[in-house]
């Protein structure tokens, strides 16, 4: 039911991304989902298996335009961002990208995203949820302009081992020596683009940004160059497995944004999410600092950790009912109890079978004393309608962390 008088993005119930004219014909499965009000492919093929393998062994092209994007400019832009996020924006170099969460006054995570320094006093921030009001509140009294540029900017993630070679060809080699979490500009398919070496797969990968009107040219340019490098468009199902392997948290799944939490217990601090490394308590002031200093002193109550499910344990549980182990072919997003003996000491929030590692893995919130790597615990599994406990072991994340993610070797010609 379109409503004519509503402005912009509110007008349609579900909007299409700037790449829709390209993604729709490729969507053999017609398997769509909603992402921030946009129609997004869950998978292009009937099964996401090949799309996942493209991420890990060739290259996948993922439409990430629905990410919220904010253009932040002005003499106080650096000071403003340094106040909002937990990382040190003052140390962010030109063309550097920071991954960072940001917190409310109680030091609980509201959202996380990447922050790119485009010039001395202009930045781009991405986020999973709308944050404009929070940003504006924090900007009161500062000389900074904050614009929601979500609709203006189309974005693609090009992820996988052959991504550099594709860009080498498509973008005239501008990204050949682009370092991990760095930013550059160039041209693809005849249109100006920005390229950041970022992504949500834990693999070698890039995100490419261009003005909305240039989206189709960008898509075509990459797909054409990617053809020889086995590029495949990929949807959210494939991405979901890759990001669990990479140990990357997902808002609304692995944590509840603080301002959406109905009760205190649902909120998480960066320390509890394994993001303690992003919290720079030496900064003079930023939102949540006092609470985070206090939490650091007493130690976080919870820790986010990886769990590896014991194959032998699974095999035994399923063996009792005469079945081989049943494995989740799609990543799951649910709260699953984790036990030490009979006591529940945590809960897993995301899990999947890792086709690459050949392991059943999960991300779990564990009470701190049970969270050291190597601790043996158990996780609930449902075996033929009955709740059982499978043995799991606590491991550090990422589960999968290839050298190519960060390294910058010469491009093979």
């Amino acid at each position: 039911m379109p409503v004519d008088w509503l402005p912009g993005r509110l007008r349609a119930m579900l909007r299409t991304t700037p790449f829709h004219s390209r993604t729709a014909p490729l969507s053999k499965a017609q398997n769509w989902r909603r992402w921030s009000g946009y129609l997004t492919a869950s998978s292009y093929e009937l099964h996401h298996d090949r799309e996942y393998w493209a991420i890990r062994s060739s290259a996948a092209l993922i439409d990430v335009s629905p990410l919220y994007k904010y253009g932040i400019e002005g003499p106080d832009a650096e000071r403003f961002l340094d106040r909002v996020v937990t990382r040190e924006v003052t140390k962010c170099k030109l063309h550097q990208v920071l991954y960072t969460p940001w917190c409310d006054a109680d030091g609980k995570v509201m959202d996380d995203g990447t922050l790119t320094r485009l010039t001395d006093d202009s930045f781009r921030l991405t986020s999973a949820e709308p944050n404009l009001r929070w940003l504006l509140d924090n900007a009161l009294g500062m000389d900074v302009s904050i614009r929601d540029i979500t609709d203006d900017l189309a974005a693609l993630a090009l992820q996988g081992p052959t991504a550099r070679r594709i860009l080498h060809q498509a973008a005239d080699a501008v990204a050949d020596d682009l370092g991990f979490f760095r930013h550059t500009t160039g041209e693809i398919g005849g249109v100006p683009v920005e390229i950041t070496r970022t992504g949500y797969t834990g693999d070698l990968g890039y995100e490419i940004w261009t003005e909305r009107g240039n989206a189709e040219a960008l898509w075509d340019g990459i797909m054409e160059a990617g053809d020889a490098h086995l590029i495949l468009p990929a949807g959210m199902l494939a991405l979901d497995i890759a990001r669990v392997e990479a140990g990357l948290v997902l808002i609304g799944v692995d944590y509840v944004p603080a301002h959406r939490a109905v009760i205190e217990d649902r909120k998480s601090s960066p320390f509890e999410l394994g993001l303690g490394w992003t919290v720079k308590l030496d900064k003079k002031s930023f939102v949540g600092r006092d609470a985070l200093i206090a939490e650091k002193e007493r130690g976080p109550e919870w820790k986010l950790r990886g769990l590896e499910v014991s194959w032998d344990s699974l095999e035994a549980l399923y063996g009792l009912v005469g079945l081989p182990p049943q494995l989740p072919s799609e990543g799951w997003r649910a709260s699953v109890p984790v036990y030490s003996g009979n006591a529940q000491i945590g809960y897993a929030t995301s899990g999947c079978w890792s086709p690459l590692l050949k392991k059943y893995i999960a991300l779990a919130h564990l009470q701190s004393r049970y969270a050291s790597a190597g601790t043996d615990l158990s996780m609930e599994v449902t075996v033929e309608h009955h709740r059982k406990k499978a043995k799991v072991r606590v491991v550090e994340t990422p589960f999968f962390n290839p050298d190519r993610k960060r390294s910058t070797p010469e491009v093979a010609r």
Partner: protein, 525 residues
């Protein structure tokens, strides 16, 4: 190395000085810093015309706390209060004007000339106003509860206030609770038939508000202006001999007598906050350190102009930035060669003693507001006119007279144009032209004029958007919600930073109560 103080008070307005006086009497080493070269803030008397003592800001002391006057021995320091009688004269272009006297029985007789029904209900009406204002008076000096917390002390204070309300008797309590959020239009419709009387009362309810008498909550403001008025007195008009600045002078004298220092021409550039604590201020690029900083500036100036806004939590900053100011008052000051001669009451007489209120009907005041609603100055403004030289000839030399006019509505935010010289001149002319309809000889009496637009009030006195009350006195910005919920107890989220100005409970007017309450809370800490 400069000496360190216990307390720095920002602004030598009357509330800043009251707080300073109480604190220094309690042994604090206090430094009061005033940006202007004169003390008093908007409670000041200046020679805008040579030899004339003009009250450029407030020209009456509404509800000045007797407790403050007594505690600080202000009479000893030269304070003399002049209660005008009649309190108000409401002229008309044609017909019978109205005067309100301090004695309600005398007023009832005056009203009988225009309505015998209203004359009969006048005394009971003044009793209701007296009771309700009495309740407010109790609330005035009570620090509002923090509704965001569960402090047991707050509950006790609230209970005491509730008990006070209960003592009014059940019937009166219900009536007070009923009328508080009403529009003054509805209240007066219940009581009176005379347009002139309703206009006289309605005008008092909208002073400083960007609202008309038909807006909800205006009964509260009416009552606010009657706290401490005395039994049966409606629209009290109380001046200070020698100009209202003498009150500030007396407060400075008391501060200095107890060892505090008041420095003028000392603009605070910034409040220094270290690790969430206010530890001093920057003046003339030099730091002055203190245990605490008490700001009598309004909340916007305190938190946005005098502080790094990033020292505030964003949610608090948003609340502060959402406070409505919307100043609607301008001031016009005239030097007159003689006294105005009103067509409806010719000659010189008692009617010139108090405030002359150009508010011939409630609808007139509402229409005056209508213009402001759309960003225009009223074409037919409500004027509160005072001739201080009548009771106090010392303020004007050589037998001349001074006229001080509060012009309402002159909205700070103009739909068209800005408050430039031409708009200022036009406003002054309109004030005189409006009065000339009632007193035709006025135009030939004016020897000099001086106009202050809302923008001038902002620039001269530091009143955000020219709001004389440091934030609109509407129900949503009063009591435990003044300046914002969770910060209504004179303390702020910045440790060691307090507020003591009219932006705090109980609000605006020359009362001294915010300063008094703030000092009490500071001493409690």
């Amino acid at each position: 190395m400069s000496i360190s103080y216990d307390t720095i008070v920002i602004g030598a307005g009357h509330n800043g000085l009251v707080a300073a006086a109480y604190l220094s009497r309690a042994g604090h080493k206090v430094l009061v810093l005033e940006r202007r070269d004169t003390v008093g803030g908007a409670t000041t008397t200046e020679e805008v015309f040579p030899g004339f003592r003009v009250d450029t800001g407030a020209h009456r002391t509404g509800g000045l706390s007797n407790r403050v006057v007594t505690d600080l021995g202000l009479a000893r320091h030269g304070l003399e209060l002049l209660d005008a009688d009649p309190t108000v004269f409401v002229p008309v272009v044609e017909g019978t004007p109205l005067m309100l006297w301090r004695d309600p029985i005398k007023t009832a007789e005056a009203i009988r000339e225009i309505s015998s029904a209203d004359a009969d209900t006048w005394v009971p009406f003044t009793e209701l106003i007296g009771k309700a204002a009495g309740f407010l008076e109790a609330a005035w000096t009570t620090t509002p509860p923090d509704v965001t917390g569960n402090n047991i002390g707050d509950l006790i204070a609230s209970a005491k206030l509730g008990a006070k309300l209960r003592r009014l008797g059940k019937k009166d309590m219900v009536e007070v609770m009923r009328i508080l959020p009403m529009s003054v239009y509805e209240l007066l419709r219940d009581w009176f038939e005379s347009d002139l009387l309703k206009g006289a009362l309605a005008a008092s309810a909208v002073t400083g508000l960007c609202q008309g008498p038909m807006a909800g909550g205006t009964v509260y403001t009416l009552l606010h202006h009657h706290v401490g008025a005395g039994a049966g007195v409606i629209r009290p008009t109380r001046r200070v001999r020698g100009g209202i600045g003498r009150l500030s002078d007396a407060l400075v004298a008391d501060c200095e007598a107890s060892g505090s220092e008041v420095r003028t021409g000392a603009a605070v550039e910034r409040i220094i906050v270290e690790g969430g604590h206010a530890v001093g201020v920057v003046v003339d690029s030099g730091e002055i350190r203190a245990e605490r900083v008490v700001s009598s500036a309004d909340p916007r100036r305190t938190f946005f102009d005098l502080m790094e806004p990033s020292e505030m939590e964003p949610e608090f900053a948003r609340k502060i930035s959402n406070i409505r100011y919307r100043g609607v008052c301008a001031k016009v000051h005239l030097v007159l060669s003689g006294l105005p001669d009103f067509t409806c009451r010719p000659g010189v007489g008692d009617h010139l003693n108090g405030v002359i209120s150009i508010s011939p009907s409630l609808e007139y005041v509402e229409h005056a507001f209508d213009a402001a609603k759309y960003g225009h100055p009223s074409r037919q403004p409500y004027l509160e006119v005072s001739i201080p030289s009548r009771a106090d000839p010392g303020v004007a030399p050589n037998g001349k007279h001074l006229m001080s006019i509060v012009f309402q509505y002159a909205p700070y935010m103009l739909r068209e144009g800005t408050w430039d010289d031409s708009a200022r001149a036009k406003l002054g002319d309109l004030a005189v032209a409006t009065l000339v309809e009632y007193a035709p000889n006025l135009s030939s009496l004016v020897e000099a004029s001086h106009v202050m637009t809302p923008l001038d009030l902002e620039q001269q006195f530091g009143l955000s958007e020219g709001n004389v009350y440091h934030g609109e006195m509407t129900l949503d910005q009063l009591l435990f919600m003044r300046p914002v919920p969770g910060a209504s107890r004179y303390r702020t989220p910045i440790a060691g930073l307090y507020l003591c100005g009219a932006g705090t409970h109980p609000g605006g007017g020359v009362t001294g109560v915010p300063g008094f309450n703030a000092a009490r809370e500071i001493l409690r800490d």
